[in-house]
Amino acid sequence: MLDDARLARKLAADRHGPPAWPLALAWLRSPGLRLMATHRLAHHFERTRPRGLHRLLPFLAAKVLVVVARQVAVVATKSEITPDTRFDGGVSLSDRGHIIAGARHIGSGTVIHERVTIGMDIRREVKPTIGREVWISARCVVYGDITVGNGVTLMPRTILSRSVPDGAVVEGNPGRVVGIVPDHAALRRRLLDSPGDTAADLIGQATR
């Protein structure tokens, strides 16, 4: 959970310079972090059972608290994350919310922007697996029995239903791999600065 806050701090630092707020206040500032925290708690409570009868009451009380906190976060960010989704430490969810996510596994360092859907194909009910350090831009849809490799960047409004290899840049509807770049940091910085650019422009600028 601390890794989430560290990642949020790193992203803020990349964007606006070193943040003035301490790590402990990260959850006060960010609805996305609160959503992530309540999801992690709900995921934990989904799999644990109270050991012994004397622990039943505290367990139930904690569970009710978590359910209420999660519901508040869900309504505040308009996001829904299925409790069985496994997140590694250090995943960033957008503060602007509207994220509907049900995945098998989401790797560490992944950044999910607003209005993103990650879900299953309606016919074969199998969910995607997202690798490490994946960048999912706004309004993307990722669905089906697929694996998104490590360090992939999805351009805004990508609709992806096929597996993509490590380091790919994916764009379009339906989503296609437009290039495999070694360093995505420059590309992502450019993407934040000029969200209207196509992947070809950005790759050209980043490799120049």
């Binding site: 308009k78 996001s79 209005r115 309004r139 849809v141 609709i159 239903s161 509807n173």
Partner: protein
Amino acid sequence: MTGRFGTLREDLRRYHFSPAPLRPGHALRSIWTLPGFQAVAVYRFGRWLRECRRRPASWPLLALTPLFWLLQGYVQCAYDIRLDQGADLGAGLYIGHFGGIYLASCRLGHHCAIQQEVRIHPAAGDAGNGPEIGDRVWIGAHATIVGQHRIAGESTIGAGSVVVGDVAARCLMLGSPARVARWDYDNSEFL
């Protein structure tokens, strides 16, 4: 009145996936836990009030209008589902998730399904005439249907597709702009 509740019961049945008959307990839990059903129920309540306005005998019932405004405001603020009263939505509407849903001045047949981030409304220039959508149409997440398009019955609009023209019956449409990915596509197993 019974007809209104019949429509609502039809809606509720869509969220109840097992073949067992619907019990009152199920209905109560659904009202409590399903944002999509809450939104549809509030929409139907508004349409019912609208019918009451036409019959002078039921004008006292219009005292419930502020309650409708309150509920509609709640659904819009909490779930970001906007079902405009100008939209004509058929019975048995299923809304899978919530967030970014906007339906205005359109016609939807019965037994349709829509998902999050779906937008169905007239284009900026069209005077009130929105899309017309047939029965048993499944509309995937992030789909956009803007303008006077006709979508025939039993077709499937895939996730993220942007419909820019009329759609024939039993088609699977994918992409932006949406193209026919498969003719004679059967959507009955997941609808």
